[in-house]
Structure formats: structure tokens, C-alpha cells
Symmetry: C2
Subunit: 281 residues, 2 copies
């Protein structure tokens, strides 16, 4: 059962490429990863380090699809798209299982870290992951979505307001994993009304401040897209009011998944508050 992945050039995530390469090597299955030839070297190296064969294509979707068709014809590979697919949604939903386990272990070990109101049923701020929302549907845990607001990247929030999915987005938000509109199947889950309790948006500066906090204090390398949920919890006034109204001053226990740390190293320096000075000076 060979596998094949098409990396979305506009999306520029590269996390799916690396995750799929790792999954394939764990299962001893060959992986063919189609990447635009303009991909960053660290992304290519990361994918190859898991044993996948990287095949380059042009950066338009037509060019990529041509290369994919060629490889599928030659190898009988299965296409595994990066997000708009039931298997991917279900697979990402297993994050919620891990999170619930880790949360229970943490609270049982350090009960003082939990608010008394919440007990073992935390609401979880989370990116646009339909799988997590599906896992928690019908449970007391609430799931929220988080998006950048820059140049209309908050397509999901806007879509919910307008009552229909925003199909096209053109944004250069630094949260480059969230530049494309929410997938069709993901939208079905998010707009369902019972699974996601709200979607909130944050500015570029708020995302950068959340990056700084994670890099400087948690000492974890993350990409901007990974901290959008944290930025909502820290800075979104509408979300703050909602928590205050529903949970009172104690608030909720909140879980946030940091997904993705694919970025050129030099970019890390740009999250420094004095980055402009030090780079230009």
C-alpha cells in the first residue's frame, strides 16, 4: 500500500509532508511527497529525514496535479490530501484523545492547576480542527476556533456570520498555515452549530506576542499558525468576555494544541521586540 502526498503550495505548511513521511516510515510503507521546487530547504530536509522520496513540481496546482497523476500511474500510490478528507479529519481528531489523557494526568497530579468550576471537563480553545470538534461533540468540553484577521484570513468567522462558507481568500498573514479557506468537509463540521462553540480572530501583532511568549518562556519552537489559539486566549476581548460571563472570575481550564514548527530559523529572530533595530543596525 504505497502512499502519496500532495503538498499544497499556497498553504506552505510542510507539516503534513513531514507527518506523512514519518507515518509511512513507521508503517514501513514507501512515501512519495510532491513538493513545489521553491519549498524551503529545512522543509525538504525534514521530509527526507523520515525516509520519504521527495519529488519536485512547479508551484501551481495544475503542475502539481500532473506530477501526482504521473506518480500514481507508475506506483499505484494512494493520494493523501493535507486536510479536506475524512481520514485526515479523523486522524487529527485523535489529538483530542491525547489531550484529554494529558489533561486528566496533569489535574490528578496537580489539582491546584485546575479551576474548581471545571473539574475534569475543560473547554478547549483550538484551531480549525474538525476532528477535535467531532470527538468532543455531545461532551461537556467546548471547542473554539481561532484565526488570523489579517487581509480577511478569518474566513471561517466571517462565513459563520454570513451563513455560508467563504470559498476564496487571498491573504499573506504570518500564520501561513491558515492562508487558505477552511476545507469543505471541515466547514460542514464547524458550521453544524453543535460542535464548535465560536470562532475568534487575532491580529498579526497578537500572534507575534504569543510567539515571543512561547519561545522565551516555554522554550518551544513553534510556527505562527500554531499559536493563534493561544493569542485568542491572551488577547481577544470578545473571548475574554464570553469566559467571564459563563465561567465567572475563576475562568475555564483551557487546552491549546500547538501544531507546526516549520519555519526558516532566521524568521525566529524577527519575533524579537527589537528585531528591526538589530537587523537594520
Amino acid at each position: 500500500m504505497p502512499r502519496l502526498e500532495v503538498n499544497d503550495a499556497e498553504n506552505e505548511i510542510g507539516n503534513h509532508a513531514q507527518a506523512l513521511a514519518l507515518a509511512a516510515s513507521t508503517l514501513h510503507v514507501p512515501a512519495y511527497i510532491v513538493m513545489p521546487s521553491i519549498s524551503t530547504p529545512s522543509k525538504i530536509a525534514g521530509t527526507r529525514s523520515h525516509g520519504a522520496e521527495v519529488i519536485f513540481s512547479g508551484s501551481t496546482s495544475t503542475e502539481r496535479e500532473a506530477v501526482v497523476a504521473e506518480i500514481q500511474a507508475k506506483t499505484d500510490a494512494i493520494l493523501v490530501p493535507p486536510y479536506d478528507h475524512f481520514d485526515i479529519i479523523c486522524g487529527q481528531g485523535t489529538t483530542a484523545l491525547e489531550m484529554e489523557e494529558q489533561y486528566r494526568a496533569l489535574v490528578s497530579d496537580k489539582p491546584h492547576l485546575s479551576t474548581p468550576r471545571c473539574g475534569h471537563h475543560p473547554p478547549w480553545g483550538r484551531g480549525l480542527n474538525a476532528g477535535v470538534a467531532t470527538f468532543f461533540s455531545g461532551k461537556p468540553t467546548r471547542v473554539f476556533g481561532a484565526e488570523p484577521s489579517f487581509e480577511g484570513a478569518d474566513d471561517c468567522r466571517r462565513g459563520l456570520e454570513a451563513g455560508q462558507r467563504v470559498e476564496s481568500v487571498k491573504t499573506l498573514t504570518i500564520a501561513d498555515g491558515l492562508r487558505t479557506p477552511v476545507g469543505f468537509l471541515n466547514w460542514e463540521v464547524i458550521s453544524d452549530g453543535t460542535k464548535v462553540a465560536g470562532v475568534f480572530a487575532v491580529t498579526e501583532d497578537q500572534i507575534k506576542a504569543a510567539m515571543r511568549l512561547v519561545l522565551e518562556r516555554m522554550k518551544v519552537v513553534v510556527e505562527p499558525s500554531a499559536v493563534v489559539g493561544l493569542a485568542v486566549c491572551l488577547f481577544n476581548e470578545e473571548f475574554r468576555r464570553l469566559v467571564e460571563k459563563e465561567a465567572g472570575p475563576d475562568g475555564w481550564d483551557i487546552g491549546i494544541v500547538f501544531t507546526g514548527a516549520t519555519l526558516p530559523l532566521r524568521q525566529l529572530g524577527s519575533y524579537s521586540p527589537d528585531a528591526e533595530t538589530s537587523i537594520q543596525g
Copy 2:
């Protein structure tokens, strides 16, 4: 029992300041941290975030000691120096306990990660931590030291060769936590001949390459001093030959402690292979 810390300005670590502040707040004991007023803002903020009172001094040791004396007179605070002290050595030695626990858990969970020769007795490449060496003395685990070679920063390696401690070092190695000579008490342990099996040195470029690997693949923020042990394992030819000679092609299971991630964010960008181009361009 109030506590007091003097941060070594020449050393510029700041990890001791933050660790002590956290320890004091965990034990509900007040902490007074004396720091040179030229300390980086992230270091000051990190120390304050644990609830310690930061008191500024000039950057010479005379100026610092004057401020320390003043605070001790006022508060009866106990002086906790950053490394050359029995309590600190013993405290740092508990790292070895954690490491041994984690190693056993890892190998029992994933036995294929261990080399058959080593079983449960791994040698551990490690920085100049006399506590770790003391913990493992008399056990099958061997402890090695690692240093930068730039401008004579390998004072410990040179001291062992010459048969006496190098008392003064003037180096600007990027591993700024290792710019001062090894402490007197630490030297007693390291030069004892039975506790540390060897000390190896690496170049600035080797340290930078190790930094890149940890940042890009492990996604952990570390400072240069933290990866000197890893750089030895990756690049030091003398160490490689030793392993080959004593353990054969299977090698050893090696444990490395990453200690310290106190650095200005903008510096992270400088570990990019294309840093010069991107900063100047």
C-alpha cells in the same frame, strides 16, 4: 529563610537567577536577585515572572558584592552562588537521577532504541557538572565533559592535560555560560581521575550546527552552552574514535542534558545557515 543570589556578570547565564527565583517561589521563600543593570530584558523579565525581587548593581564584581552585602545586612538573606558551592553541585547532581529514570522508562518502552552492548548502563556525555559525575561515580555509566575551544575556553581540558586547574580565561565563545573557568570545587571532582572519563572540545561552527539541529528538528529553544555536549557527540573525532574503540560499531547509549535557553530571540535567527545573507540583504 530568605534567599539571595548573585548573578555572575562575566558569566551572563541568567539561568541560575531564574532557577533560584522559581525554587524560592515554590518554597514560598522571598528571593532577592542581584543582577547587573546591563542584563538583557528577557532575563530580567524571566526572573521577575517567578516572583523574585530584582536588585540592580554595576557590572563589576566589586559593585555587585557591595549590593549583596547591603541586602544581606538588611534581610539576613543567605547567599546562593551560581556554581562553585557544594549545595549547588549536589542539587545539579539530581539531574542524573531524573536522567536515569527517563532513560530506563524509554528503554523499557522502546528497547530497539538501545544498543545491545549497553543494556541499562549508558555512558552519558555531559557538561561540566560535578554533581552528575559524583552521582555516577562507582557505577558503570561514564561521564564526559564538553567545552568550547574558542579563545581557550577549553580550560578544563587544558587543565587536565597540564595537571593543574586553569585559573583565568578570557574568551568570547558563543557558549556564554562556559566563558568562566571551571569552579574550584568542580575542578576537585573533575580532576579526581575516577569520576569524569574525559573532556572534549568543539569549535564555534560545530556548536552552531548543533543549535540548528535542535531548533529545527527537536523544536526546542536552547542556548549555545546547552548543546556543547551534543556537538562533541556529533563532531569530535577524538570522542568518536574512543567510542569506536571501546564499544565497537554499535556505539553507546548516550544521554545529554540541555541546560539553559536564556538568549535574546533575535539571536536565534543568527543560527540560520543563510543568516548573513538575510540580515545584510
